[in-house]
Amino acid sequence: MSIRLGTAVAVACLISGVAAAQTAKPTDPQIAHIAYTAGQIDIDAAKQATSKATNKDVKAFAQDMERDHTAVNQQALALVKKLNVTPEDNDTSKSLSKQATDERAKLAKLSGAAFDKAYVDNEVAYHKAVDAALENTLIPSATNPELKSLLQTGLKIFKGHLEHAEHLAATLK
């Protein structure tokens, strides 16, 4: 529990820390990069879970995550192309990727029911953190209305994922 909370708080601080660290709101190209990176992280986690999970509901959940986050990222790519915006790498994206790589390495050492539970618990924590970052930092900072709208749709999708992950976590206890 403390590990899950720790991860959630760390990711939330990391993303909302963009504004504090730079004493300015993240720019649209940075927001696009952060959102895309956050999606890619969940796709990579889903791929790992699709091959390692043993519980069929956990496997199905991982497939749902891969499908939805891929669809959102495709929309994001199409939008940045249309707007002629080049996503800009930044410290938040870099820290998110590093943290995700560490998390995947931790999960790689687990197997069976222990892996299933750790993956789903992490999905709950991760979606909580990303949803909070979208709501409190990324959406309010976005200036382009189409980018803002896509982030808002993303938030609704990810709130659904959080609820789905919480239901699933409750069945794994």
Partner: protein
């Protein structure tokens, strides 16, 4: 005899025709992660058609009863067989909920 058989047939055709004309198709649009209308009314024999305008797949699910897949930019239909109120949700995004009040035929 032939006349009677014919008139029976006509009554049958009429009955089938009437019941087909009475059954309606009720459309529920899925857009921006919501069912619209979220609450709808229908009667036994009507068809519910969910039309997904989102870029992610959804379902209209009643646990243990139906699990309708509604793929991206596609639709799915179901004929209502029983009276009563059914609460459904999307299995992929359980924050999406809808209900249909089904009246007897």
């Amino acid at each position: 005899m032939v006349g009677r058989a014919l008139s029976t047939l006509m009554v049958f055709v009429l009955a089938v025709g009437c019941s087909a004309a009475r059954a309606e198709t009720i459309r529920v649009t899925i857009k921006g992660l919501g069912f619209s209308p979220a609450q709808t009314q229908a009667k036994v024999g009507d068809t519910i058609e969910w039309i997904n305008e989102d870029f992610v797949a959804h379902t209209a699910t009643v646990r243990g009863e139906w699990d309708m897949m509604v793929p991206v930019h596609k639709s799915a239909s179901l004929v209502l067989k029983r009276a009563g109120t059914v609460e459904y949700y999307c299995r992929f995004h359980p924050n999406m909920k809808g209900s249909i009040a089904v009246a007897p035929e």
